[in-house]
Assembly symmetry: C2
């Protein structure tokens, strides 16, 4: 038995899968400031029209252009691996497979959408892309994609990360991006904040405002903005992960998995692996599909389903999603990629239907799981990925108790080599568990009642 | 055409290749303090006898035990990749292939020998391994191997790296190793230095002395020492790289390469890729085989061939090698792995025969090559690896000038994600070129004239 299942480049998926085509009830539309559904034209100053078309598409399959595949081949197809050593340690009859997305040059799944986004912008005549980044994972992926495709890239990086975590900033610079600390003096939004709070550590909300402003105010009209998760077209691009996994499971002699798991911040790595299997579940397959979030930022398990803004500054359209409120700022847990207040609307609709069953895990259990992974499988996972591994271990132990030879599939979304300070804090006993108090949730979601109401639509089949 | 050539696990090489069996003139023996060849028994307090047997073996093929392969499968066989984007950029008719050794969990080729060394120690009844590490690459690999195999691991890390580069130290701790700053208070050697120079930044020479002392003085007799390069058995274990590459080149439809390149500090990643092709050259193939060193530490291109100690404290046997003198301390260039004063004796004998043709490169050209690599192939290489890439670019440009479709093969020995401060220094214009002055070489090699003389033996065939 081979523990690494490699797909030939010629067998890479040629189409992305769009879950919107198969959801049994239609998605609630994004709303504009007037409370009415927004039209593609309203997004045109922010995104190029070819990406907006993908954002609103309900076609099931969308072809992947050859020029994009030519870039993805640098690391894709990504291997499917079997965690035989963890299985042995857990004495489980379950077979644990994972997609290794850590092997991309930026070290995570993020370039799967950064590359197509850069390519479509280039094709649309755009010269420069702006974005925000927290710890820097998304900024690195977009810098990488822009360098390979030949676009300028400007990254607004939350100041506290810019100052305290210089390494991803250097990576962005190696790939030619212009990375500045946010708030900056380069935008009205940034200047305003700096005038009020000169010593602010910054926030993702501020950085988003700066990135959007600098895109839409470029007088040449040749700059657009890019987002690394949440939106439909971002999740679409990530489905190459699950589509590859399907082919690889078949090569390994498996049928469908019994359990599919991914960590979820904005939802993109989870959706990328899971959506092609959600399609099977819609068609009758019995698959447990689990996105995992931290108990410190439990939007899926404890937030309301509501219309909310995507950013703190309330500049984006309203999205119907599970949310803790756009003003909520989670505790600084080390899984920076899981600290977003909302969840991708496509994932949320899957939750409403009962197709997707979210779980929340405490920080310490996640780090313990990461340590067990390092001592059995050998690699050091990203703090975000450790959430998926914690759930995998639970499912594998349940399979042992039930005596069932289940197939568990999860997304190894990134390596932890740029996040070693979190491991250091864990090993030094400095980390603690944290459950978000109900009062906090109530406080930050109360204002959502003044926004249009998002009705939970479901067929009740699952 | 596929740009990644993956080998099936079942096609992994089952034997290591030992160049000592095929060198046309025999190696000069290591000498003891009395100037006489040392015997295996003399090494027994330092290394387990099963590794000593490999060290002195002249058998051509040495079987790789299945238990070792079972661990290597976590990341091996490593892919052979073709750098088509760099080829296009250079407009070269040459085909550039590389073995991607950066995909191991510690991020370099080092675990290829760390795993067998840990396994043989375990088999010999050893409970604990000690070693030294500079920047931490070797310490990480040994910590990783010991964790997977179930051995204690103690790493003496040069103090200045321990203080200034905490990330590889954290990696070692994740893999359960006990990593202390050297000089430490735990050994006589360390205490003596600390008493004389309480503020010393430490050196690899001091750390080696501490690691050896703590191994040989363990009263239980169950501790041994481990070295990550230079020695015959270390190079032997690395030949899995070149043996895999041979099979993969065949799968890619190629015969033998025209040029084989690797960076060389102690020699292990270079030898691992090159030695199986040196065998072809001995048998008549026309292959240019190039180890690349920095001009700041030019032992192969400018040092004498002489008997010298492996460590600053003169505790090791005398080895016949190209050396800048055991007391030489190179400038702090960012390619920490290329700062060793000597070169593996097997590589040196290949140089004496004319089979191996070393080159030296300046730091700035290496970083420029690394930047070109990142902007074409997309990945960020280790500063050491950039030396190989600089030579690859030269050879590819020469092929363009000659109009020849050469096959160039090199070793991508590691990624640079733990070495981003070097890139930052380069991008900020803080790095300079440096050629070691002849007076320095004369000064540090003068004392070698008092040691036994190493005669250059060669057949003159190449």
């Amino acid at each position: 038995m081979e523990i690494k299942i490699n797909l030939k480049e010629r067998d890479i998926p040629r189409k992305w899968y769009n879950l919107a085509a198969d959801l049994p009830t239609p998605m609630l539309p994004p709303l504009g400031p007037d409370g009415k559904p927004i039209t593609p034209d309203m997004l045109a100053p922010v995104f190029p029209m070819n990406l907006i078309e993908q954002e609103v598409s309900t076609k099931r399959w969308i072809p992947i252009p050859g020029e994009i595949l030519d870039i993805l081949y640098r690391w894709r197809p990504a291997p499917l691996k079997r965690a035989v050593n963890l299985e042995k340690y857990l004495k489980t009859p379950a077979k644990i497979y994972y997609k290794d997305e850590s092997i991309s040059p930026p070290g995570s799944h993020k370039p799967n959408t950064a590359v197509p986004q850069a390519r479509y912008n280039k094709q649309f005549g755009i010269k420069k892309i702006t974005t925000e980044t927290g710890a820097g994972q998304w900024g690195c992926a977009l810098a990488f994609a822009c360098k390979l495709i030949g676009l300028e890239c400007k990254v607004y990086m939350v100041r506290i990360s810019f100052d305290q975590k210089p390494f991803r900033k250097i990576m962005m610079q190696v790939w030619g991006a212009n990375c500045v600390a946010s708030p900056s003096n380069e935008t009205n939004a940034g200047r305003k904040i700096l005038a009020e709070m000169p010593d602010t550590p910054g926030s993702l909300g501020i950085a988003i405002s700066e990135a959007i402003e600098s895109a839409v105010t470029d007088p040449t009209g040749q700059t657009r903005y890019s987002l690394g998760s949440v939106l439909n077209h971002v999740l679409l691009h990530q489905t190459i992960i699950g589509l590859e996994a399907k082919k690889q499971l078949k090569l390994a002699g498996e049928k469908l998995p019994d359990v599919v798991i991914g960590c979820a911040g904005g939802g993109s790595n989870f959706a990328g692996l899971a959506f092609p299997f959600v399609a099977d579940k819609i068609n009758g397959a019995n698959i447990k599909i689990i996105p995992v979030e931290p108990t410190a930022c439990p939007k899926m398990t404890r937030g309301p389903f509501a219309y909310d803004f995507g950013d703190t500054a309330c500049t984006t359209p309203l999205l119907a999603m599970y949310t803790l409120g756009h003003a909520f700022i989670p505790k600084p847990i080390h899984a920076g990629g899981l600290r977003y207040h909302g969840m991708a609307p496509l994932v949320c609709q899957g939750i409403n239907e009962g197709l997707i069953e979210p779980k929340a895990y405490q920080q310490l259990q996640c780090y313990k799981s990461a340590m067990l992974w390092a001592s059995t499988e050998g690699s050091i996972c990203a703090p975000e990925t450790s959430h998926a591994i914690a759930a995998v271990i639970d499912e594998a132990e349940k399979a042992r108790e039930e005596g069932k030879e289940k197939v568990i599939l999860f997304n190894y979304s990134g390596h932890g080599l740029m996040d070693l300070l979190g491991y250091d804090a864990f090993l030094s006993g400095k980390l603690t568990d944290y459950t978000l108090p109900q009062e906090e949730i109530d406080k930050y979601t109360e204002p959502l009642k003044n926004l249009p109401k998002a009705e939970v639509k479901k067929t009740g089949k699952w």
